[in-house]
Structure formats: structure tokens, C-alpha cells
């Protein structure tokens, strides 16, 4: 089977204004969602208490809420977690009593409504830990970008590196925007997924740049735009097949791995879609608009044979 029997000749560079507009709209929408309603941070980042319990049959959330309010847990948020039998109770951080003690008390209260409720998990995160994790997450994102920019600069060229980073910034913004818009919980595993996706999506971009690096000496008299167009077209088959294959596997993770990895899988799925789009339409185009010239591409070392800087 082969989807791309003949090499495509799509003029990606000529139509780039349209793709920029689309990207701008996506980013604007994401920023709006980040402003209102904003990210729904999990307790990893806010600090607080989460108690996960399993009911023998579908849980009556209203009765659970009423019992908790009556017992003095007025700030308790009671929600289903994955299935109708799994329930998660979230509480604000408190300092007067130890978190596990509170967790056990919540369980006792829930047991007065349904005696056969089973404790699955108690998470207690102090407010200071939450703040630190947020800070670390931001730093991790920043360092990932800086190091990747440095690497592409070293291996290819500065403007290509900047193009790759611009395209890659897309991905986390849209993922975070999606999480804000849908109010899905943004926790540590989602953040890990976002960072992994940044690394992964730059894959796609690098493959295109690699082809441009290879093609340029063979295309005498071609403009940088032509070379980049050729590179995107010639790698299009691989880009689409790889993304499809990755999505198959991540979809299995989304549907089968349970609630704990749901946010993670969703983030990666969005990352693949946006990442594929931006490495086809944005990365090369923005390098071009940053002033990528024939000289720049000439100066790119064309590597033949094994490189010696494998990880």
C-alpha cells in the first residue's frame, strides 16, 4: 500500500500567509481560553487534597456532597473520575490537620452514605510544593526550547533553528489552550506530555530541514523557497505516515490506559496533530520569512556518512 505514489508538488511557501492566519487564530483562541476560564490546575500545582474512591455501583454524587457539607467539608468538590463508579473528592489545602487524616475522615463520611466504598488513592500536596512544581514546569519548558534551539543552530542554521522553535511553541500553546477551554485537569503528567511532545514534534521539523540541507546543493539556481517546498513535499509521505502510526498507539493509550493517563494521552494527540501541521506549514515558512537566504543554506554543512554526535 502506498498513499503517496507520486511525489507531491504542493506550493507550501507561496500560500504561507493563509497558514500564518490559521496559526494566529489558534494561538489567539488559546490565549483567550487561558485568560478566561483559565487553566484548571490539578492539586499537583495548586496544593490541596484529593481523595479517590471506588463505589460498588454508580455513585450518588449529590448525597455524597450533602454528607460532606454536613460534616464540615464545605469546600469539597465531588466529581466522577473516569467511570460513574469512581469518584474524586478535592479539598483546598489546609495546614491544621495532616492530609492523610483528612483523607481518612472524608472516607468515613462517604461510608456513612455507602458503606462499601473503597479507598483508591489519597494525594496531599502542600501549597509550597505546588508553587515549586509550577515554577519548575515553566523552567523545564524554557530550557527545552533553549537547548533545542542551540542544537538546531549547531547542526543546521540559526534561522532554521528559530523557525523550528516558533513552530514548536505553537504546540504547547494550543495544548494548554485546549485544556483551559475544556477545563480538563492540568496536572504533572499533562505537563510531562507537553514537554515530550515539544521534543517529538521538532522531529518532524528536523526531518524537513535535513532534506533541505541535502537537496540544496543539487538544486542549482533554485530559490530558498523552492528548496524548502521540495523538502516539505519529499518528506510529506513520511510525515503523514509517522503521525498516523503514532496516533494509533496513543489512541490505544487514551482509550485503554484509564483515567490516570487520559489528560496525558489527549495532550499528546493534540500535540501530534498541531505538531505535524506546524512542521509542514509553519517551521520552514517562518525560517524563510526570517530571511533565510541561499547563502545561509550554502553554509549549512552537508553531512555524509555517520555523524559522531549521537546521544
Amino acid at each position: 500500500m502506498e498513499f503517496f505514489k507520486k511525489p507531491t508538488q504542493i506550493r507550501f511557501m507561496a500560500t504561507r500567509k493563509w497558514w500564518y492566519t490559521l496559526s494566529a487564530v489558534m494561538i489567539a483562541l488559546s490565549l483567550v481560553a487561558l485568560w478566561r476560564p483559565g487553566l484548571n490546575y490539578g492539586i499537583d500545582f495548586t496544593g490541596g487534597i484529593a481523595v479517590e474512591v471506588a463505589y460498588p455501583s454508580a455513585a450518588d454524587l449529590d448525597r455524597a456532597r450533602a454528607a460532606l457539607t454536613q460534616a464540615g467539608f464545605t469546600d469539597a468538590q465531588v466529581q466522577n473520575f473516569g467511570t460513574s463508579r469512581d469518584v474524586i473528592v478535592r479539598l483546598e489545602p489546609r495546614t491544621d490537620v495532616s492530609g492523610t487524616v483528612i483523607g481518612n475522615r472524608v472516607l468515613e463520611v462517604l461510608k456513612t452514605v455507602e458503606p462499601n466504598v473503597e479507598l483508591r488513592r489519597i494525594d496531599v500536596v502542600g501549597p509550597q510544593v505546588g508553587g515549586e512544581l509550577r515554577e519548575k514546569g515553566f523552567l523545564a519548558m524554557l530550557f527545552t526550547f533553549i537547548f533545542i534551539l542551540a542544537y538546531i543552530w549547531f547542526r543546521f542554521e540559526f534561522k532554521l533553528g528559530l523557525g523550528a522553535i516558533l513552530a514548536a511553541m505553537h504546540t504547547p500553546i494550543v495544548i494548554i489552550g485546549y485544556f483551559a477551554a475544556t477545563q480538563l485537569t492540568f496536572d504533572l503528567t499533562v505537563l510531562a506530555a507537553v514537554l515530550a511532545v515539544v521534543g517529538y514534534q521538532i522531529n518532524d521539523t528536523v526531518v524537513v530541514f535535513d532534506r533541505a540541507r541535502e537537496r540544496f546543493p543539487l538544486m542549482r539556481g533554485a530559490t530558498p523557497g523552492d528548496v524548502l517546498d521540495a523538502a516539505v513535499n519529499q518528506t510529506l509521505s513520511r510525515t503523514v505516515i509517522t503521525s498516523g502510526a503514532t496516533m494509533i498507539v496513543v489512541a490505544a493509550l487514551l482509550f485503554l490506559a484509564g483515567e490516570a493517563l487520559r489528560g496525558f494521552s489527549i495532550a499528546i494527540l493534540i500535540g501530534i496533530v498541531v505538531g505535524t501541521y506546524s512542521s509542514i506549514y509553519i517551521a520552514s515558512a517562518s525560517a524563510l520569512d526570517l530571511g533565510l537566504s541561499a547563502e545561509d543554506l550554502m553554509s549549512v554543512r552537508h553531512e555524509k556518512g555517520p555523524v559522531d554526535d549521537l546521544p
Binding site: 471506588a54 489519597i122 503528567t189 517529538y200 498507539v249 490506559a257 490516570a260 555517520p306 549521537l310
Partner: protein, 615 residues
Amino acid sequence: MTEFPRWKSITVLLALIFGVIFAVPNLFAEDPAVQVARRSYEPINNVQQQAIEAIVRDAGIAHADSFISDGRLTLRFADVADQLKARDAISAKAAEQYVVALTRATRMPKFMRQLGLKPMSLGLDLRGGLYLLYQVDVDGAVAQLLERLEQEFRKTLRDERIPYVDITRTGQQVRVELRNAADVERARENLFKANPDLTITSGADAATLLMELRPEQVKERQDYAIQQNITTLRNRVNELGVSEPIVQRQGLDRIAVQLPGVQNSAEVKDILGKTATLEFRLVDTANDPEEAVRLGRAPLGAKLYRDRNGGPVLLKRDVIATGDQLTDATHGVTQQEGPAVFVKLDGRGAAEMLKTTQANLGRPMAVVFIEKVRRTVERDGKKVEVDVTEEQVISVATIQGVFSSSFQITGLRLNEASNTALLLRAGSLAAPIYPIEERAIGPSLGQDNVDKGIGALFVGSLLLFVAMAIYYKGMGLIADAILLFNVVLLAALLTLLQASLTLPGIAGIVLTVAMAVDANILIYERIREELRNGNSPLASISAGFDKAFSAIADSNVTAFIAGVVLFVFGTGPIKGFAVTLCLGIVTTLFTAILGSRALMHFIYGRRRRVERLSI
């Protein structure tokens, strides 16, 4: 015929053998087991192993396997009922000698264990258990040091008969106010002799001396406190009987504790975080405690305490011995006075105790129970946390005879006696600790996570294998074999490193499979391109690999960079994810570039002519 160096084929073959050997232990299921460790922390030997096996056998329980690893004995059973019965039997017969913990053990055959093979260790989110992150109050440790110095200064000055007005602590300073300015030099010499590494300067007026800790001394004390706390927490965890506990420093002033399988988190936490210790002091019989209460201050050289009923007791300021000087503590019940803790003092404590009891026969001595707790109080409408030291006189007894190293303490309630003995045995915390993060994962959730995670990995891989076989036909099957090789190699590396597998770690493996296919696709698309350009099949394979190489290398390096950053900044399960991601990239590069080429060489390379490729 294509050219492919023999040594590369051999490397691939060796990697395959290595992968299979180390990955295989993970295929065996687990059974309930008990783990037995000696209370003295010495490793269990064969004689003790046989004795314990005999206890279990006498209780009518058959064990499936019995072996010693890391100085602990593991007995594996067919079901949970046998496991629990065995634990009770061992505890009933030999509780003083051994600590018994419930655990799970692999069904892996004996010969594999003798080869030193082990299955992957599972993270808490996969096996259930308790994770605690403690903040160490390092300032508290420095305050304790200053308090000790203050007491030493008093003793030194008194021993040297140098009169002083007061000795006070402020910040990281101890201020000594002498009665006569003429004594300053003598006092300085003597204080310096006792503690040569201190900096002692003159104070504001002629009769005052100042002792201040240097920054490196403060730092040293803080490091010591954390190390000491880690040791103490390890001892306490061992006393509690937890299999494979992890206690490690995290960052500057934190300690992470992982207790697999622990369910009763509240009780465990209570024991771990306790900063309880004992002090032995003489009772001040010369002054009236009621008088001190009325005046609101204790007379010179004495300190006002409360007993268990809230009544005032005046004790001498000098401590005879503290909990640090205890070498052993056990609990029991005495006939006359109920629950008791039997303690043994070290040489210094014993000498002091001997001297004190000789000089004070017939006088009362008190035992003070000291505990640091963190309380939240309302201050200016805001909730603030304050650390309170609760000191309580638990017993006052007349010194009936001269004693030194061994004696008993009464006046405690039964569970207090056992907990206090445990705490004294395990050592006291050099600085108070407070939990700032707690995660308790139930066993059913752990098992669920394993089942679902592995299920997703299995189904995802299967779908991918089918898709590759359909899209690239024969070559797709080669890719499938290579992907399988990749997973085996990754599992082997994770097992070898004993990096604990977490749910995000499983996600990392799934993602590795997804990303590894990319390297294969890059190569196959290149081969197809070369074929379209009219090259011969073998030349196309060769060119496909060569030309795809730089793209594969560069694209994986960027993903690797993201993985490393995640590892550096991540904690807990995220670190597990980062480790699998990074190792996965290494195995992907190896299998896709070397492994895949070796396999193609094996299939096509040895033929004289290849008419067409199945791609």
C-alpha cells in the same frame, strides 16, 4: 550481495541475547510473600532461615519458595491466606528478633535468581503504597545545637567557678554575661578549650562574651541534621516492617520516603514524623513549684515543668542524660508499675548517671518526655504555623540505689511505652520534619494501573504491527520484528538499571514504540524513493539507510534533549517517564540503524540477486 561488517551483526546478536535474558524475568507472575529482617539489621544467615522455615512449617503452612536477598529472607506462598498466617506465626514466635513485612515475590525459577536476575521494580503507583515528602526544619537543628552549647557553657563556667549573670541565645549567637569583667579572659580560654572550633568574641561591654556560629558551621550542622534524620527515618521504617522501603534526600532540605504496600498511612506517618525524646533530670526539692507558678518564673538553676495531670514540677536545669545517649530501648510490663520502657545508656550517659545516683541517693529524679509538634494558630486573623515543643514530666521516682547503664522508666501508657521504645531505639530526629506532600495509593488502584497500562501497550503495539505490515508488506514485518526487539531491549535496560516502573513510565514505553516506528518509516520511505528513481533493490536498501541516517540522528537528539530536561526538572513518576523516554531513544537508534540493517542483510544481503523488494 551487500556489504555489512560481521562485527556489527555480532553486536546486534549479543544485544538481542542480552535483551532477552534481562527482559524475561518480567514475564513471571507474582505471589504473596513475607519478608523477614533481623531487628539488629544484621543479615539473615542459613541457620536462621531454617529456623524461620520450621516455624512456618510447624504452623501447617507450605511455602512455595524461600531465599535470602540483601540480607532479608523472603518466603513465597500460594495465596494471601497462607501469607497472613505465616506472618502471624513468625511474629508470635520471634517478634523480638525479627521484623516481618508483607510483600510480593516473583515466581521466577530458582536458577534465574541464582544468576542474579530480577524483575523490574514497580513504582508506588503500580503496586500501591505510601509516598511522603518531608521538609526538614534545618533552622531547628541549628537552634538545638545552640541550646546544647548554652548548657555546656553553663557547666564549664560552673566547673571553673567563674560567676556569671546570665547565658542567653539570640539568633545564631550565644551571649555570656559574666559577673566580673576580670574573668573574661579566663572564661574565654575555658570555653574555647571545651569547643576549639568556636569563634568567641568580646561583647558590647567588658564583662560579655559572644559566641557566633560561622556560616560553614551552620551549613555543616544542617547537613548533619539531614543525614541523621535519614538514618533515623530508615531505622524507624525498618522497625515498622516494610519491604523494600526507600528513604532518600531530595534537594537541599527534603527527604522523600517511599513505602510500598503500606496501607495504614495515618499510623505510619505518626511514627515516622515523631520527634520524641527523653531527658533525665533531678527534681529541685529546695524550692516550691507552686511558688514558681505564682511568680511566673523558675528560681535560678531550675526549670518549671508540668506533669501528666497538669501539676507543676520544678526540675534542675542540668540534664543527667538525654535520649541521644540511649543504646537500646525495649518495652514491657512490670508487675508493680505497669507498662515500662527498659533502657540502656552509652558510656558517657552511664558515667553521668552513676555519678548522679551516687550523690543523690534517696532524692527524686524525673523523666521528661519531649515532643516537637507543628500547630496552626490564628495570629492577626491569619493562620500561621508555629513549632511548639511540648515537654511533660512522665514520671518522678526516688533514686533507690546506684545505677548506671541499665534501668527502667515507668509512667507511660501501654501503647506509649511501645511507641516510645521504638522511637528511642531508632534514634531521635536531629531536626523536626513536616510532611509537605503525601500520596497514598491503594493496592487495587495499583493493580488496575498495571493491567490498563500493559493492556494499552499491548493493544497499541499490535495495531501498529498490523498497520506496518499492511502498509510496507514484507518490510513492514521486518519493522515489526525490529520494534519488538526495541521493546525487549528497553525492558532489559530498565530491569538492569532497576529504575522503578511507573504508570507514566509505561506511557513512556508506549510513546517509544510510537516514535521508534518513525525511524523505520524514514528508512522505508527512502528505499521507496530510491526504487522509484530506478535503482536496484539492494542499492536502494543501502542508499535508504545511508540517506535516512542524518535525519534519524538529528530528530532523535532533539527528543532526547526534551527527555533530559524532563529528567532534571521532574520528580517522582515524571522522572520515571523521562528515563524511559531517554533510554527508549537510545534503543530506538540502536535497533533501527544497526538492528534493522543486520536483519535486512540476513534476509536479502546474502542472495546473489534480489529481483524485487516486498515494500
